[in-house]
């Protein structure tokens, strides 16, 4: 882990500590707390689980047991861009698994994993409720309806071009300074 990631983590834990103070020490707040952490940081780091347990007066393994029961919680940092491929019934009938496979092949990771550069992560989701647009993939907050294997490359390429453009801009502005 490099230095900046370490500082980032420290900042995260400080934030979580102050966030916890806003919650009453009641077990019924457990889910809401875990959801807030997941929503803000994209994952619930194991030390965060301990902090939550301590705050609510529960044992850590109990909090761990609850958190691992639900699909929503991740325990590793997600990629910068989260790709979620819908595998609901309608998407399955229309070839959602082929779309998932294409993302997996293109990024060389499996569902549930993050690319080594932490740019992308892929997840399977049960149904996002856009069945009429099947097959569907959601990248960050954008829903891509009527996906096709050939569109997969385009989606990823789009992000890569965007990243390059940003880097170039950064370099340009740095060279101007």
């Amino acid at each position: 882990m490099n230095l900046s990631a370490r500082t980032e983590e420290k900042v995260m834990f400080d934030h979580i500590a102050s966030m916890l103070r806003t919650y009453e020490k009641k077990r019924e707040n457990l889910m809401a707390i875990l959801q807030e952490i997941q929503g803000k940081y994209g994952y619930v780091a194991p030390p965060a689980l301990q902090m939550v347990a301590k705050h609510l007066g529960l044992s850590s393994c109990e909090v761990y047991g609850v958190a691992t029961f639900y699909n929503q919680f991740r325990f590793n940092p997600p990629g910068k861009h989260q790709i979620r491929v819908c595998l609901g019934t309608a998407c399955h009938v229309r070839g959602g698994d082929i779309i998932l496979e294409n993302f997996e092949r293109k990024l060389e990771i499996k569902a549930g994993e993050t690319t080594p550069d932490r740019e992308f992560s892929i997840d399977r989701v049960a149904c996002v409720g856009c069945c009429a647009l099947a097959p569907v993939a959601i990248v960050d907050d954008t829903v891509y309806g009527h996906m096709a294997p050939s569109k997969v490359e385009g989606v990823i390429l789009g992000f890569e071009i965007e990243k390059e453009r940003k880097e170039r801009e950064k370099q340009d502005s740095e060279s101007q300074e």
């Binding site: 889910m31 019934t89 099947a134």
Partner: protein, 642 residues
Amino acid sequence: MNLKSKETLIDVFASIKTEAEKRFGKIKGDSNQNIFIGMATCGLASGAIEVKRAFEEALAEQKINARVISVGCLGHCYAEPLVIIDKPGFPPILYHNVTPGKANLLVKAFLRGDDPVFEHVLGAMEENELIPTVMEFPRFNQEKRVVMGKCGLIDPEDIYQYIAQGGYSALAKALTLDPEQIIFEVLESGLRGRGGAGFLTGKKWQFVEDAEEKGKFVICNADEGDPGAYMDRAILESNPHQVIEGIAICAYAVGAKRAIVYVRAEYPLAVKIVQKAIEQARELGLLGKGILETQFDLDVTVFQGSGAFVCGEETALIRSIQGQRGMPQPRPPYPAQTGLWGKPTVINNVKTLASIPPIIEKGGKWLKGIGTKKSPGTAIFSVVGNIVHAGLVEIPMGVTLRSLVFDICGGVPNQKRFKAVQIGGPSGGCLPEQFLDTPIDFDSLTEAGAMMGSGGMVVMDENACMIDVARYFLDFTQHESCGKCTFCRIGTKHLLDTLERITKGKGRDGDIELLEDLSIDIKEGSLCGLGKTAPNPVLTTIEYFRDEYEAHIQEKRCPAMMCRELTAYYIDLDKCARGCDACVGSCPTESIFTTRDRKKAIDQTLCVKCGECMTACPSEYDAVRKVSPPELAPKIARPEEG
């Protein structure tokens, strides 16, 4: 309630309603032009945001005064983004598949000029002499909207629009009645729970009303997890107040002071809209302390479910609210006796609660007049899969499957043959053609081996493999099994493994019998509804499509050519055009190569059978073939390099 407070209540509500009409009048007034854009999740996914922006820009550019209003979902997902333009002198007109380009054109031609651009019109929303109404389409006129009546026509984020259209008057009326009278009306209506099991709603309420313990709860179950059903989401995103009104009536009837809306966290828009709606209702005194200045208090909160299908089961749902692992508890005791935090609790589905306001307003007898004798009212289905007019359909109970699939939803596209319809999601079953004349109601569907479930309906054409469908659902239930009881935790895994083996061509004699025997024991032995219904997709597909199982097991052949291990693509060299490269670029694995005589062939060792080459091949050549078993594909060697 004494006469005086009854009068105050009526006065208080009347003044709210007047205010709503005044405000809504401003929006829907004669002198104003209004553009309503469907902005629920499916609309957004189809590009409604871009369309809205295009309208706003075009209006600004043309200096035209018109209001752009975001509304919910009409249920016609196949035609999204949908836009209704209401211009004085014209009936409100519904436009389909609107793009930013069309938006621009509509502003110029219709709002500025007076040309409604007929080629993009789906229909008028009201009777008129100019344009045929949407009611001339079966997709509209065979529907009966009780729950979704206002969906897609009002702004879900503006409580006054709902009130101006008659909303919350059922609550005002209910508060003048005794709880017993309300429960009587609900019992009289014969309304059965829309969550799937079909228990009498009035009875459930009565149990909780009868309980003497204080601190009762009402929970609205919007943990819609069925992978293919999204009506609860659509209702919450399009008309949250009808649900909240139903919750308030229920709470008053059973004597609860706290209510919880349990929404899946995967539905962020629904969560946001419901929270806003609760806030607005509280501001107007329709929720909170002393509702409409009566003695009735109700506090409604939203709880977000964290992604566990099993939490749709009521005892698991309760545990997850309590911050525990969402594992079902054996019943009895039922939540009506011992529910959330041990208190008597009503748990009703979104659609059930949304059916309550119309029942209170029009009486229980009125609902009984719709649908069938044993299943009164309407059913909402999300009809998806291989179907022309996919979307949400609300029909009276008793309509046959045939008229739902073929008349209302336009049948199967691309001249393909209808094969089966899967009803009720992972708990339901697959019904083949001979069941098309089955009426849709709780009992007929159960008898046929499917079930109403939450209303997911997937239409499958001839290219769907029934074993793959069963495998898909088992994969789902197996992933979603909570792991508590032996039958569901381990039994579904054996079912899935066996099905997987069959789809991979490794089926054995005796597999069908093993599936059947295990299925029956899992159904009988499991602890909760998830396990008890999980084998249904297996049992119905074996019953109605046994020959397909046999083809897979004995001939290692997939008749629908869907199982990838049992199929192969090849290029018909007689049809392939020399020098054409269309398929090469489409292949994600570079498995297509050029033969010696400059035609194309597929390297079977690299092919992942995605079918892109078949789509890419120009229709005048139509050279890509799909076969099962894979041995039928001719073997063509790649020419050696150099």
